[in-house]
């Protein structure tokens, strides 16, 4: 195992007493607790981390944070994961990582061929070719897809635990740098409820990698002081390793916590509702666009000092600094102090801050003003740079180095501000975009509003924290801001592209997607002028880094090309997620079988125990379609159950039926308005069948409503549409008829409903010791009575969904199972048969009881389905009436419900089978079909245009396999007179 050749001897915030071993591309390496994968790789002198997306150029680490655009790795072992950012991944013992997008190896990558042929692969090249032979992009895409993509999807589910957590606070602060900490302290000490989130493993932000002093002590001692104070406050929550990823309406913010406080948790997604939001997200240093600016060893200046000071890892030995602003000078000094030789500072400006220049020169660092780097030498690692004057590119000077540090200025991290709906604006002095007018209760402080000086960040945060708390009603004056040395403004000189030395040289803007300055020029030349079109045509900013480093440079270059201002070009819209979020964390508890609630009736468990075939039947219930005995097929079971109901007795769990209690003096008026029929004369203790329509005339639902008392009715609705009906009724009552004295109470779960049906039903009821006389004249069809069955209080009704003589027993759900088992026992002698919902569907089909969802498919109305008898003549207004009284035949014949008897009586036409005429025009469809064991042949119901006038005709049924023929008949197959149910 090699030693860490690029590790400083001391210093940094790593724990040198805690060495860790890890492997990268199969090589065993050493690092320390507190390292990130990237700092450990740097300490080990690894410079090529991966290959680029399109040209497969070798790439190294460029930054030290979430903005990283090159260093993506694939994790292996028990933590298999694609596209992981090496710069934010804390090192752990046994970490196994490999480069992505390189084959066979990152050091020798065949994909690299594209790099030599790059001239033939400009932006959007694929739009211009691969069109031959016609319609065969698939061919090419088969190859292209292979080279595209980054990491590989894991092969096994990780089966980690994730959770979501809702959280509320007065003030949320995003970012625990100097500004964020000051804000949190001020807000926290006022007594407000504060949430401080930060995506680093410890607080401090950029101070973690700087030599700055506060109150004339090292800044980090100030940090630990403030953190201690904050953590001591009872109503302040501080989350580390937590990235705010989405900023939504009314200050709803989602944040991903990467290593939560609980060992059994992989990640926690916070869903925060904040009264006030303070964005202290800092700024991202931007690269400069010059030839080969993507070579391994080219790194952002701030990143280099971050690696040195925070991790004690030297990104190189001999460095050149290429900058356009004052910010880089202190970094150069810090690096020098940490043993990196700074060969020179190349400053594009003619007049850098004099004191800074003096300071670095006194340290023996040469400063070249009004100069620029025209190109980088070295392919697999920077070996030298070529420098020339700004105005005259002829005189070249070569400087040997293994590290090139660049700083093209700073971009405030305005992503969340933009996500909140606000529009960033361009600041010419800073040559970048800063937050615009807030549209939510949100304010940006410190570097993320373009205030880079430490002193300003401190006071800025303090003031914002105080103000935010004050708005929330906590007004406590914060103690005065801490003091620190005043730095000069960074005063950058915009430089969007260093002229390329050769026609063939390339300067990269979006490293992640391999977009060069030439690509941008080409896109503009071809007329893709809007920045949104540039983005889409070149794919700039659409990579994993979402353009964090590249976007502003692209906008700047566009402005330069079209000789306008970056402000006039504008930014593209930033969208969540700020940084990628695992699917597991997105799903939270829904990554389980609880994703859809499972509603149970009191009988559900009984069915599970007794062979019920459960399936989704709407409203989140899972009901048995049939209850199979061992060795039975579905058809066997359904036939057996159907025969039992017609010839013996069946028992059915109707508990999911929607039930709505309707009370009040205007109950009848209400029912008259929502049902097509009239409810005036229904006596107490009687039930009535009714149909309910949508306002546009379509069928909504049918059901039986019982009158239980003077002003009290109980409506039952289809189980699947229960909530739809409830919403329909509540809306009418609340919004359209508020004057009615009616109260609706949904009571579905209050009652279990058990139907005993079939010729022997009466015997079973008697065997179960029903406490009332149920002889035909004493207890008539549509009667409902309170009584006791198996000495349980119930309400029994003579209503049916099968056309057989039936008793519907309504019982308090706590007694549901008890009653069910009592009835099964009582029915033993009569071979009582539990029945599933497929069977009851078959039974209702034999009787052609219309189902709104089937026969009422499409725009069929109550007349089309042959239920016109439910609309009394001259009845006043009711919902849906007007739609059925307009000229309905204007658009041709109506889809009328008929029965079908197939010529081949063994062929059961599936639901939806088209009916066609001689010219293959579709003239209708089967709404449902079954084999009826009771008449031992197939039966079906259908919608047929003008069907009522086609009785007796033969129609053609079209199926994918072949065509069948069927005779059109009256839609009822058993007991047309309905004597059985009235028996």
């Amino acid at each position: 195992m090699n030693k860490q050749a690029f590790r400083t001897n001391s210093g940094g915030r790593i724990d040198r007493d805690q060495p860790l071993t890890f492997t990268f591309n199969g090589k065993r390496l050493r690092g320390y607790a507190g390292d990130t994968l990237s700092s450990a790789l740097i300490a080990n002198g690894i410079s090529i981390i991966g290959r680029s997306f399109k040209y497969h150029r070798p790439r190294g680490i460029m930054s030290a944070g979430t903005e990283e655009t090159n260093a993506f790795v694939q994790l292996f072992g028990n933590k298999e994961e694609p596209n992981v950012l090496a710069t934010t991944l804390p090192l752990y013992e046994g970490l196994e990582a490999r480069s992505v997008n390189a084959w066979p190896s990152v050091n020798f990558d065949l994909g690299g061929m594209t790099n030599f042929l790059h001239r033939f692969f400009p932006a959007g090249f694929y739009y211009k070719t691969f069109m031959w032979p016609h319609d065969r992009w698939d061919w090419y895409s088969w190859f292209i897809r292979k080279v595209a993509g980054w990491g590989a999807a894991p092969r096994k589910p990780a089966r980690n635990r994730y959770e979501h957590r809702f959280h509320h606070c007065d003030v949320m602060i995003i970012g625990a740098g100097p500004a964020g900490l000051s804000a949190a302290l001020a807000a926290g000490q006022s007594g407000a409820r504060v949430l401080l989130v930060d995506n680093q493993s410890e607080a401090g932000g950029y101070l973690l990698g700087s030599s700055a002093k506060i109150n004339s002590y090292p800044a980090l001692s100030w940090v630990s002081e403030v953190v201690a104070k904050i953590d001591a406050l009872p109503d302040v929550v501080r989350l580390k390793e937590t990235s705010a990823i989405g900023y939504y309406d009314q200050n709803f913010i989602t944040a991903l916590q990467r290593r939560p406080d609980k060992i059994w948790l992989k990640e926690r997604l916070w869903k925060i509702r904040a009264h006030q939001v303070i964005l202290a997200t800092g700024a991202i240093e931007r690269p400069i666009t010059f030839a080969n600016n993507d070579r391994p060893g080219v790194m952002l200046t701030s990143a280099a000092s971050h690696y040195c000071l925070r991790y004690g890892a030297r990104p190189g030995r001999d460095a050149v600094v290429f900058t356009n602003n004052n910010g880089s000078y202190q970094h150069a000094i810090d690096l020098k102090d940490n043993g990196i030789n700074i060969a020179a500072i190349i400053d594009t400006r003619p007049d850098p801050d004099a004191t800074l220049v003096k300071e670095v020169t006194s340290k023996g660092i040469e400063v070249l003003i009004a100069s620029q780097i025209s190109k980088v030498i070295g392919t697999r690692r920077v070996s030298a740079v070529e420098v020339c004057a700004l105005n005259d590119t002829s005189g070249q000077r070569r400087i040997i180095c293994d590290l090139l540090l660049v700083s093209g200025g700073w971009n405030p991290t305005i992503h969340l501000h933009s996500q909140s709906g606000a529009k960033p604006v361009y600041d010419p002095d800073l040559a970048t975009f800063i937050p615009g007018k807030s549209v939510q209760n949100e304010v940006s402080v410190g570097a993320c509003r373009g205030q880079f000086a430490l002193s300003v960040c401190l006071s800025d945060g303090l003031a914002a924290g105080h103000k935010a708390a004050k708005i929330c009603g906590f007004d406590v004056e914060p103690q005065s801001a801490s003091t620190c040395t005043i730095e000069p403004d960074i005063n950058p000189m915009p430089i969007w592209e260093v002229p390329l030395p050769k026609k063939s040289s390339r300067a990269f803007l979006d490293f992640n997607n391999d977009v060069t300055s030439k690509d941008i020029r080409l896109a503009e030349r071809e007329g893709y002028r809007s920045i949104e079109l540039i983005k889409r045509y070149t794919t700039a900013g659409m990579g994993i880094d979402q353009g964090k480093t590249g976007n502003v440079n692209i906008i700047g270059l566009m402005a330069q090309i079209t000789s306008t201002t970056p402000g006039a070009i504008g930014t593209t819209t930033y969208r969540p997620a700020y940084s990628p979020v695992s699917f597991g964390a997105m799903a939270g508890a829904d990554n389980s079988n609880l994703i859809i609630p499972w509603r149970r009736t009191p009988i559900t468990d009984w069915f599970i125990k007794n062979g019920g075939h459960l399936d989704e039947t709407g409203a989140l219930f899972r009901r048995p379609l049939f209850i199979a005995k061992s060795g039975e097929t579905a058809d066997d079971a359904i036939n057996r159950e159907a025969l039992a109901v017609r010839n013996g007795v069946g028992i059915y769990d109707g508990s999911p039926l929607g039930k709505i209690s309707i009370k009040g003096t205007d109950a009848v008026t209400f029912l008259d308005r929502v049902y097509t029929n009239s409810w005036g004369e229904l006596p107490i203790g009687r039930c009535k069948f009714g149909y309910m329509l949508h306002e546009d005339g379509r069928l909504l639902d049918d059901g039986v409503t019982a009158r239980l008392a003077e002003d009290h009715y109980l409506m039952s609705t289809g189980s699947g549409v229960a909530s739809v009906v409830q919403k329909h009724l509540e809306r009418l009552l609340h919004c359209d008829w508020p004057d009615l004295d009616v109260y609706l109470t949904p009571v579905t779960d209050q009652w279990a409903v058990i139907c005993v049906c079939g010729p022997l039903a009466r015997n079973v009821m008697r065997a179960a010791e029903i406490s009332i006389d149920i002889s035909p004249d004493a207890f008539k069809f549509l009667d409902t009575k309170y009584c006791r069955v198996a000495s349980i209080d119930v309400r029994v009704s003579r209503i049916t969904y099968t056309g057989e003589m039936s008793f519907e027993i309504v019982v308090a759900s706590r007694h549901g199972l008890e009653l069910w088992e009592a009835l099964i026992a009582a029915g033993k002698g009569f071979d009582i048969t539990p029945v599933g919902s497929d069977t009851s569907m078959l039974l209702r089909t034999e009787k052609a009881f219309i189902a709104a969802g089937l026969e009422g498919d499409g725009y069929a109305n109550i007349y089309d389905v042959g239920m016109g008898w439910l609309v009394p003549n001259g009845k006043g207004d009711f919902v849906g009436k007007r739609s059925t009284t307009r000229d309905l035949n204007k658009g041709g014949p109506r889809p009328e419900v008929v029965g079908l008897l197939t010529d081949d009586s063994s062929f059961v036409p599936p639901k939806g089978t088209p009916l066609i005429d001689a010219d293959r025009n579709m003239i209708g469809m089967v709404t449902i079909g079954f084999h009826s064991p009771n008449i031992d042949r197939s039966i079906a119901l259908a919608q047929l245009s003008g069907g009522r006038s086609r009785l007796g005709e033969t129609v053609t049924l079209f199926t994918k396999e072949k065509q069948y023929f069927a005779k059109v008949c009256e839609p009822v197959f058993i007991d047309p007179a309905g004597l059985r149910m009235r028996d």
């Binding site: 694609p82 596209n83 070719t129 698939d138 990628p580 499972w598 939806g912």
Partner: protein, 411 residues
């Protein structure tokens, strides 16, 4: 300048310095024979077909923002024809066919891929609905097929049957296509521009003028323009624009969200639909998983998206694809659908002579070439092709609606 491998190489050797603009950036003339409102796929397509098939070249396409910046830029690339009502089944079948020659017709590679689609069925109810769809669409020549668990597992090896909603089978749709959405707008723009069509960006229509004899012109942010034929192909604002001619469309504007994962190596060719979970996804050529579900539960013109839709969509996918647990959600966005009352397109004349509308109903991406062709034909001949007779506004007075459930409607 023809696009070809040869020209690409030729320009490659010349550093691509001589490629001309893909389309002319025109400014409006005072008058045109026909004007199309909306510079997305449907609008640019209508202009292209008017010019190429009906000899009307004095045309302007007015786009209020950037080309293809509406739903052309925001859809999930999938081109399918799994509809259950005959008029829709017929139209969408023909629509899928209409894509095949597009790259060559336009000399612009829209990256059409015959990826196929697999619908995963998770209840017996889904299965019987599937039979209906398969029978109806096959009547119109679509190639859909019910497949059993075994074949499903073979086609989509990564799919695992979840405890809560066990998989009962699937539908295989071999003809389903995907295409590079933005390229469709650019290809049409380039081809139409070549035929003399004026493409005018950043030009918002603020009013429509008409008299007893019909349309006379439009007011725009770049001045008044006269015309006698006006086609509307806007998404998200169909109601507002048509209202300028006092035409009331039965439309509600509802956001439809989509999202992508970080790019990974190919793992999936098919588009996958999880029927019971109202979710679908596919893998783009670039490697991202492109995912979507149902439209938002309330109307809005906001294109920002919400947190709950990505969470629900991704949770649904994890139910069936547990190995995706450590894949990463990267970006979300939203488009605004003009959802008609019956979730079906309106391609129709209006009460104002010379004013025609092509409102997609529920995501018009998949029908772009055919709808544009039919719209152009309607504008040129002032009578609907039999294929679109059912899509006339008339249906809303006769009540003979096409209440499609296979589309992303909430109704």
């Amino acid at each position: 300048m023809k696009y070809s491998a040869f020209n690409l190489a030729w320009h490659g050797l010349r550093n691509h310095d001589a490629w001309p603009p893909a389309w002319r950036h025109a400014s409006p003339k005072p008058s045109y024979d026909a004007i199309i409102i909306g510079g997305g796929g449907h609008g640019l397509g209508a202009a292209f077909y008017l010019a190429s098939q009906h000899g009307i070249n004095n045309i302007a396409v007015l786009e209020k923002g950037w080309l293809g910046g509406g739903n052309t830029a925001r859809n999930t690339m999938t081109i399918r024809d799994n509809f259950i009502y005959p008029d829709n089944a017929r139209f969408h079948r023909a629509a899928v066919e209409s894509w095949h020659t597009l790259s060559n017709d336009l000399n612009f590679n829209i990256m059409l891929s015959k990826r196929g689609m697999t619908t995963i069925l998770m209840s017996d109810r889904d299965l019987s609905d599937a039979k209906r769809m398969v029978n109806t669409t096959s009547l119109f020549g679509a190639e859909h097929r019910i497949i059993n668990l075994k074949e499903l597992k073979k086609r989509i090896p990564l799919a695992e049957s979840p405890e809560r909603l066990p998989i009962v089978g699937g539908i295989h749709h071999p003809d389903v296509l995907i295409a590079r959405h933005d390229a469709v707008a650019w290809g049409y723009a380039r081809a139409a521009s070549k035929l003399g069509v004026d493409i005018i960006e950043n030009c918002e229509v603020t009013d429509i003028f008409y008299d007893a004899r019909g349309v006379t012109g439009v007011q725009t942010s770049q001045g008044k323009i006269t015309t006698r034929k006006l086609g509307m192909a806007v998404a998200g604002h169909g109601k507002q624009v048509a209202a300028m001619a006092d035409i009331h469309l039965p439309i509600e504007s509802v956001p439809l969200q989509a999202m992508v994962s970080t790019p990974i190596k190919p793992i999936l060719d098919n588009v996958v639909v999880l029927r019971g979970l109202n979710t679908y996804f596919m893998q783009s050529d670039k490697g991202e998983l492109v995912m979507g579900s149902i439209a938002d539960p309330y109307p809005s013109y906001s294109q920002r998206g919400t947190p709950q839709i990505p969470e629900a969509t991704i949770a649904a996918i994890l139910q069936v694809f547990p190995t995706f647990e450590r894949m990463q959600f990267m970006r979300q966005w939203a488009g605004v659908l003009d959802i008609t009352y019956d979730n079906s397109p309106i391609i129709s004349k209006t009460a104002v002579d010379g004013f025609y509308v092509d409102v997609a109903g529920s995501g018009g991406w998949k029908t772009t070439p055919l709808a544009a062709m039919m719209h152009a034909d309607l504008i040129a001949n002032n009578r609907p092709d039999p294929l679109i007779e059912a899509y006339s506004l008339e249906r809303f007075s006769s009540g003979h609606l096409i209440l499609e459930r296979a589309s992303y409607g909430n109704r």
